[in-house]
């Protein structure tokens, strides 16, 4: 990957809302060049989407509930963990799935409106899968930092003096 592509990706990774005009100015390139780079990167699927990090707790009365579930599974011959991972990640309740080293196999992040809703999904869908041997569920109590962004960080005052040599 070219240096200029990396620079562009780093910029929009931090702020997907940056307009093409501004990206062009920051990089010292033309708008056409930047648009074309973006199109290429989308086609190559280097850019998979443009999402927004939202603190739902600020908007909704009830906070969404997230659980991290450690799942032990039986791998299948020939396809290893991929097949069972797919069975799991197809569920819309599932927000992330990782294959892990260590005490369990899959780390599954599940989102729901309430703990009951998540409990129901785990007992009726996830644990009920033939290849799932066991699950251990951890509910998230508070998010401090997510995807490199510190939440509840209201302290963004400039602490510098206004004019200095």
């Amino acid at each position: 990957m070219k240096e200029i592509e990396v620079e562009l990706l780093k910029l929009i990774e931090k702020n997907a809302n940056l307009k093409v005009e501004k990206i062009a100015k920051l990089m010292g390139k033309s708008i056409d060049e930047v648009s074309e780079l973006l199109r290429d990167l989308e086609e190559k699927k280097a850019i998979l989407g443009y999402s927004t990090l939202i603190d739902w707790a600020k908007v909704l009365d009830t906070e969404e509930v997230t659980a991290m579930v450690d799942v032990k599974v039986t791998p299948a011959r020939g396809v290893g963990f991929d097949k069972v991972a797919e069975r799991i990640y197809r569920f819309p309740e599932v927000k992330a799935v990782y294959l892990m080293s260590g005490a369990y196999d899959l780390s599954v992040s599940v989102k729901g409106k309430t703990m009951t809703e998540i409990g129901k999904f785990i007992s009726e869908k996830l644990s009920a899968l033939d290849s799932v041997l066991s699950t251990t569920t951890h509910f998230v109590l508070k998010r401090y930092k997510h995807d490199g962004i510190i939440l509840h960080d209201d302290d963004d005052d400039d602490k510098r003096i206004v004019v200095s040599p």
Partner: protein, 388 residues
Amino acid sequence: MKTTSYISRQVENLKPSGIRRFFDLAAQMDDVISLGVGEPDFVTPWNFIEQSFHALEQGYTSYTENAGMIELREEISNYLSGSFQLDYDPNEQLVVTVGASQAIDLALRTVVEPGDEVIVVEPSFVAYVPIVSLAGGTPVTIQTKAEDDFKLKPEQVKEAITPKTKAIMLCNPNNPTGTFLNKEELQQLAKVIEKNDLLVLSDEIYAELTYDDNYTSFPSIEKMKERTILISGFSKAFAMTGWRLGYAAGPADIIAAMVKIHQYTMMCAPTMAQHAALEAMKNGRQSVQEMTESYKQRRNFIVSSLNEIGLSCPNPGGAFYAFPSIKETGLSSAEFAEQLLQEEQVAVVPGEVFGSGGEGYVRCSYATSIKQLDEAMERMKRFVEKRL
């Protein structure tokens, strides 16, 4: 009792910095977007801070050696050799100081005798001239010119030299112009300097912050190391202004003489800051690179915005300052800065505070978030449109 008469004449005659007056004005106002700040907007990288916590917890609260912790001097020596191909003995050729400012003070006090002339290249950092005076020397200023992109020309140095000239103060990249001198340009200056047997104080505090060309440290030029005191520090590239930590590197006899003043007047640089700097030297590359990339993008942004607005601004090669011309508006740089502050609450620094050659220009620091820069450019556009 009236105590004014007790103040030494030399200090009494010292002009207060023009920046000070402007600071007082800006500090009274609300909602100011400041492009007047000569320091990074980034907070010191967390690993440096955390290392300092750790050192404090371990009880490192006492003095260090006068010249600074030997581990730190060794790391600085490695860094200077790795980044700038310079070879300095950490035992004899390096001193850790309270900011680069103290290193400048020590260097000038060490070499200047009454009657000695020191060449200062303006527009420049506001402290050079007063420090030369306080050291008992006579500052002789050269004004670089806009038509030369504010680059110092060897002929200008030649013209300024008299039998009394002892040293020249260089700053590359330069505050406030952002001007960057490349290897060839420095070599041309070196010829004049050698021929006239001058000592060089090379302030390279912005050396890491260059964006287009490779950086050449002045003492790395042939025959210059033996006549150069290199001055640098952690404030700018490492985002550590408040820690007050700098250093000087140079010939062993000069450094030893500087340490003599340092031991009586300062004892040593703050210990907790030295520990943070040690971490910066060992594990700070990545942070410096990320910040530099960010400054480069902001530079591109502010320079193209200023030119769009109608304030002609060449592309500065280093530091984090843009130095646009405001002559088109018909205002002096002080009027421009004052009216811009009153009408649009944007603070920039009038060029004239950096020397008479800065008249007609203002310094805009782009060490500020894109969001703030964007808003500042909108406001400046509104302000300039009314005057063009």
